[in-house]
Symmetry: C2
Subunit: 137 residues, 2 copies
Amino acid sequence: MKIGELARVTGANIETIRYYERIGLLPEPQRTAANYRSYGEAHRSRLAFVRHSRDLGFTIEEIRSLLDLSDHPERDCGEADRIATGHLEQVEAKIAQLEVLRDELARIVGRCRGGLAGDCRVIEALGNHRMCESHHA
Amino acid sequence: MKIGELARVTGANIETIRYYERIGLLPEPQRTAANYRSYGEAHRSRLAFVRHSRDLGFTIEEIRSLLDLSDHPERDCGEADRIATGHLEQVEAKIAQLEVLRDELARIVGRCRGGLAGDCRVIEALGNHRMCESHHA
DNA sequence: ATGCACCCTGTAGCAACTACAGGGTCAAGG
DNA sequence: CCTTGACCCTGTAGTTGCTACAGGGTGCAT
């Protein structure tokens, strides 16, 4: 299959596929006589792994390690679990941080009663951290 | 006050302050005889506004608009409210998205019972979206 | 032969910084 | 007087994970 079809079946963008190849996440595929990239099932599956991991928020470097484990079935699974657990913790931390922001923003937005910028509570609050209830980031 | 002191009192990084000046968020300050930047209270307050807004997750362009309103007290406050409300909605959307990821990750991580990578449920799940319960991003 | 969809390489851009390299300034201590 | 150290300057390149060209080639149908 050519790159366009691989893009269609995986939902990835063509440029992204070439980018993954360039940074070594995907192996260089064979080429047709016309120098077109030619992919098989192994490539499709590897790209699906990468896209799925990216959708779950793993970084490229984390995915590199996960793929490496996947390529060496004799290794210990603990590393994969460690990466995933670490990532889960980061996601949880990010959620917690965004919730603080959300509450602070909601408080600020709720103060607007319309009128002129000079009297605006929103702008005033942005200039003055002491008006905040919590110590967001 | 010189740039180092401004950085200390606002918690911003020196390079970031110069960056804000370069992109026009902060006005060019006066210079001392030695060509050092020299800041006053107006700069401090403007930088505090910027840092606070960034901490709340506003983009540089949103902050540019907010600063513009702050510089024109006779304008309507509605624009500030519109920006803040829009941003709040984005934060809420991001939280919702991360919560889906978190649940999916927790499910994947929970499957690991140790052992070899070849049998690893974590790696298997990453390669296979059909094992997911929800349609995360 | 010409239009069109597809493919190629290589480079530049995005956000919002951060990190140098390579230099100047200034006050205190020996 | 000289050096050491802390500070400041400009300008450029790197970060992450793509995305968007520019400028060209290929392959098939009309």
